[in-house]
């Protein structure tokens, strides 16, 4: 009985937080007039027409193309991010080298840099090498551990792991590479899952990157296609736009729930609240 007020408060707050999401789903079944006049989320009819229309889009491509494009960017980017960030974090956390403290400071400093200031020099650089309107500018920078937040998170996670296991592995005969593969990577698994989840969600949601580097509609990811569906015709069927937004949320939500157990473990151990 003592817990009752606590549950009431928690319940009320969670309804408050989730209401926009519920409204979003409800709105997909409404007409424009209903959307702008009703505060309630419960639709008067259940009609999946908005999903079908939204999926088709007003362009010659369906959202299947845009989802595929998103994955073509996201999956390689995650792969190179994990490899590069783990390598760099391993070096920072476990090796002594000249200028280590200074370099780590510089790296953490770049976290403060707004991404947008990098876009112009990056654009010029990728134009020089002829990579505009390809996915390379969206993937390649991550192969050099430029997502310093992940490096920082992995370093903090590694620092919290006692070194005994690595010393035992050293005596067992591991060299640095074997140590990384057999010992460090398995120990880092929860943190690596966090990197995957964050990078997945951030890349799926990235709007500015594709907008700057991609010109052909057939190469657009979901984030750009969504924006396009708003501006393409004069009279916007909001239900269609909202319906496809809901669909666009599914991969990120699915990835989060699939990885939830490891993700929360990693976020907690890394000192970052999820």
């Amino acid at each position: 009985m003592k817990a009752l007020p606590r549950y009431v408060v928690l319940g009320a707050v969670s309804i408050l937080m989730l209401y926009p999401l519920a409204w979003l789903v409800g709105a997909t079944f409404k007409s424009n007039a209903e959307i702008f006049t009703q505060i309630g989320f419960w639709p008067s009819r259940l009609d999946f027409g908005a999903y079908a229309k939204g999926w088709k889009t007003s362009t010659e491509y369906t959202f299947a193309t845009y989802f595929l494009n998103s994955f073509l960017i996201t999956i390689p980017r995650i792969a190179v991010t994990v490899v590069s960030c783990v390598l760099v974090a391993y070096a920072f956390a476990r090796f002594e080298f000249w200028g280590k403290r200074w370099l780590f400071g510089v790296m953490v400093g770049t976290m403060m840099l707004p991404l947008i200031v990098l876009r112009l020099p990056q654009y010029l650089m990728f134009r020089e090498v002829g990579m505009l309107d390809t996915y390379w500018p969206l993937i390649l920078p991550s192969a050099f551990a430029t997502d310093t937040f992940f490096v920082f998170m992995l370093v903090q996670f590694l620092r919290a792991i006692p070194r005994d296991m690595e010393e035992a592995a050293m005596i067992d005969g591991c060299n640095a590479a074997q140590m990384l593969w057999h010992i460090i990577v398995p120990l880092l698994r929860p943190a690596i899952v966090s990197v995957i989840v964050f990078q997945f969600i951030w890349t799926m949601n990235d709007f500015m990157g594709p907008l700057v580097f991609l010109a052909s509609v057939e190469k657009y990811p979901v984030s750009l296609a969504l924006k396009m569906s708003i501006g393409a015709t004069e009279e916007v069927e909001w239900a269609n736009v909202i319906a496809i937004s809901v669909v666009a949320l599914i991969p990120s939500v699915a990835v989060f729930f699939a990885a939830q157990k490891h993700f929360i473990e990693g976020a907690a151990a890394g000192g970052i609240k999820g």
């Binding site: 005994d164 005596i171 057999h182």
Partner: protein
């Protein structure tokens, strides 16, 4: 198996702190050597230098007839058991044991044979399919020992392996590790062992020889019995034995044709064999007497001297009683059989007792250097 020889080994950290000051020591082939000392005495540092986990600043380290200063840990022929087990959490017990052998390219049947043999020796066969997190502390420690055994190393290194276990389990593991050492010797595979602990009970019960360290300097290396009976200095005398030896400020005086100590206002003649070996002028001295050599009665022929003391309190241990009392202003502890002190706990603080000091077991130390004068 091989001997481990340390010659003038030094360790200076990058910040200039000198942790180990020119250690000379030989651990004989097949010997069980214990490094003991309070925390910060560099015993673990010394072990880690033997293991190759810590660099050697100066001096020469030999394992067998090879100088190993520059060799990486894996090439030294050692195996180490860590304080918190250091098992690989993502591998099953079997793979934890087999990992080093697999890396070394040992054939699969041979890996399997060695793992099963070690598991049998340590009675962990039923645990081979478990993950480390499914093991109790004692089981995890046995697996850690097993991981050392399968490598069939030239030298076993133990870094405070029992300090994370509760008292009961610690006592059991102590016996088990000692037995294991004996078993390997009987099987014709004597295991040179260096065992680090801060616990003098572990050192006394397990070591064939003990190396007592303080602040990076060896105080004494000898058998447990010799350390107990003939401590080289006041530090060793105080560190070995429990409860620890009474070390009291006293004065060396001449009494008749012999020597005596003046202790808390009482003059106690020394038996000739306990007087300082070299002629020494009367003056300040540290007088040492173990609690078991102070009694409430006089054992026949012990040459004990009766001294009045005031009771502070008594700790009843079941079969014996630790009596804490003051001789003059000097606090002493006596360890007496429970039968000698039936009503002691009923006596109020400050009541007067007679303590019987067995002067034949007394130790005298230099008050400045702490060196034994016997």
């Amino acid at each position: 198996m091989a001997a481990v020889t340390l010659s003038r080994i030094e360790k200076v950290y990058p910040n200039g702190f000198k942790a180990v000051h020119g250690v000379d020591l030989e651990v004989h082939d097949g010997e069980f050597m214990v490094f003991v000392g309070p925390s910060g005495c560099a015993k673990s540092t010394l072990l880690r230098m033997i293991a190759g986990l810590e660099s050697i600043t100066a001096g020469e380290l030999r394992i067998g007839d090879r100088v190993v200063n520059g060799l990486p840990a894996k090439a030294r022929g050692i195996a180490m058991v860590f304080q918190n087990y250091a098992l690989y959490p993502h591998m099953k017990v079997y793979d934890n044991l087999a990992f080093g052998l697999k890396l070394a390219g040992t054939s699969k049947p041979e890996v399997d044979r060695r793992v099963r043999h070690a598991a049998q020796l340590l009675e962990i066969e039923h645990l081979l399919d478990r993950l480390p997190k499914q093991l109790s502390g004692g089981q995890a420690q046995r697996v850690a020992v097993g991981r050392a055994i399968v490598k069939e190393p030239q030298v076993f290194l133990f870094d405070e392996p029992l300090s994370n276990l509760d008292a009961k389990l610690r006592a059991a593991m102590r016996v088990r590790i000692t037995e294991l050492h004996r078993t390997l010797r009987e099987q014709g595979r004597p295991a040179t062992t260096v065992y680090v602990t801060h616990d003098q009970t572990e050192a006394m019960t397990m070591g064939e020889r003990i190396c007592v360290l303080k602040e990076g300097v060896i105080q004494q290396v000898d058998t447990p019995v010799a350390l107990y009976q003939r401590p080289a200095n006041a530090f060793v005398a105080g560190f070995i034995g429990s409860p620890e030896m009474n070390l009291l400020e006293a004065e060396l005086v001449t009494a008749g044709d012999g020597q005596a100590v003046r202790l808390g206002g009482h003059v106690l003649p020394l038996p000739p064999e306990r007087a300082p070996a070299a002629a020494r002028a009367p003056g300040a001295i540290r007088f040492g007497l173990r609690p078991e050599h102070i009694g409430l009665t006089t054992p026949a022929g012990s040459g004990a001297l009766a001294v009045p003391a005031t009771l502070r309190f008594a700790e009843h241990m079941g079969n014996e009683v630790f009596v804490h009392a003051d001789i003059g202003s000097l606090p002493v502890t006596a360890r007496v059989p429970a039968g000698d002190a039936p009503a002691l706990h009923a006596q109020p603080r400050g009541s007067v007792l007679t303590l019987h000091l067995q002067m034949g077991a007394a130790h005298l130390f230099d008050p400045a250097t702490g060196a034994s004068l016997a």
